[in-house]
Amino acid sequence: MVPDQNEFFMDPNRCIGCQACVQACSECETHKGYSMIHLDYVDRAHSVQTAPVVCLHCDSPTCAEVCPADAIKKTADGVVQTALKPRCIACNNCVLACPFGVPKMKTDFKLMMKCDMCYDRTSEGLKPMCATVCPSQALFFGTREEIEFLRPRSVATNQFRFGEQTITTKVNMMLPKSGKAEYVDVTAAMSQRGSGKTISLNILDGMYEGEQNQ
C-alpha cells in the first residue's frame, strides 16, 4: 500500500531531458532493460524542451475501461498496474485509448506493460526510480507540504480536460500559480503555438565562410 501522504508531482517545466529517469526505469528488476517512462520532445525541430510522462493513474482508467480481456487492474491505493500476463491478449486497445499515451505494447512478451509508479518500491514507502534520480526534480515524489515549500510559485492539479471530458488522476501536474488554471486543457494546448523566443545558433556560420575563402 502506497502511504497516503506520498504523492507524485510532475513538472515538465523543470525537465532538462537528461534521460536519467529513462535509464533508472530500465534498471528496475521487474522489467529490466525496458523503460516504462516516456521522455517526449515537445517540438523537436524548434525547441530542446522535453517532458517526462509517467502513468497518471486515472480515477477512471481508460486503458482498463477498453480492455476486452479484463486484464488491467487497479490496486486499492489507486495505482493502475501492468496487464495481467495470463489475461492480456496484446490487442493494443489500451495503447490506442490512453489519452496520455502511457501503455507500451511489448510484442516480445505479447503483453502490455506500463508505468506502475514502481509499485514494488512505493508500496514499501520508497520513492519511484525516476523520482529518485531526477536531477532537476521534474519528477518529484513526496508529501504535499514538501512540494508547496519547494515550489512556491507553482500549484499542483490533477485535472486534465479533453474537450468536454475531465480526467482526474492520482499523479499531480505542477502549473504556474500565476495562470490560475484549475485544470490542464490538453486539447487546447495541442493547437497552441510555442510562445518562447526563437533562438538561432550561428556558431558554425563563420567556420563555413572561412572554408569558402581558402
Binding site: 477512471s60 487492474k73 490496486t75
Partner: protein, 182 residues
Amino acid sequence: MIRREREELTIPPDGRSFEEQPKWRQDFPIDWPQADYLSRRDFTKFMVLISLAFTAGQFWIIVRNFLRKRRGEAPIQAIATIDQLPIGGSLAFIYPEAHDTCLLVRTAEKTFVAYSQKCTHLSCAVVPQPDKNRFYCPCHEGSFDLATGATIAGPPQRPLPRINLEVRGDRIYATSVEVKTI
C-alpha cells in the same frame, strides 16, 4: 486523503454509483480488491450448487447401474456353420445389436476367433489379414493381433472387443461380448 470505500475507488465514465452500473461492469470491476472480493452469499451459493450437482451425479450412476442390470446378457446367436469357412477365411456378422458388425476368422482347423469390426481408435472397419496374423485398420494404419485382439501398431489404445464363441456340432454360436480396456 480519506480512503474511499472499496466499491467506489474507480469512477465509471458516466460518474454514477457502482450499484447503478450495468451488470457486466459489476462482474468485471477494474479495482483489484473488488475483483478479488467474494461475498459469503456467492460462496454459499457456489457450494450448494456444486454439492447439488454431485448428488444428482450419484443418482445418475444409480439409474445407469439399474438399467444395465435390467438389460442383461446378449442372447446366444448362431452365426455360421463350420463348413462355411475355409482355413484363413473370414465372415462378417452382426452381434449383439443391429449396428455392431463383427468378424469371424478361422485361423486353424478347429480354431475360430471373432472380434468387433470397429477399430477402437475412430471406429473404422478393420480388415482381417490372417496371412499377416493381424487385423488391419486402413484409416490410420492401426493393427490388432489376430489371436488376442491386442493392439500391435498405430493409434488405437484399446484392444478390439472380443466375441466369445461356442462350437456346438457343426454350428458356431456367439455367446457374449468381452470389452477390454488394456
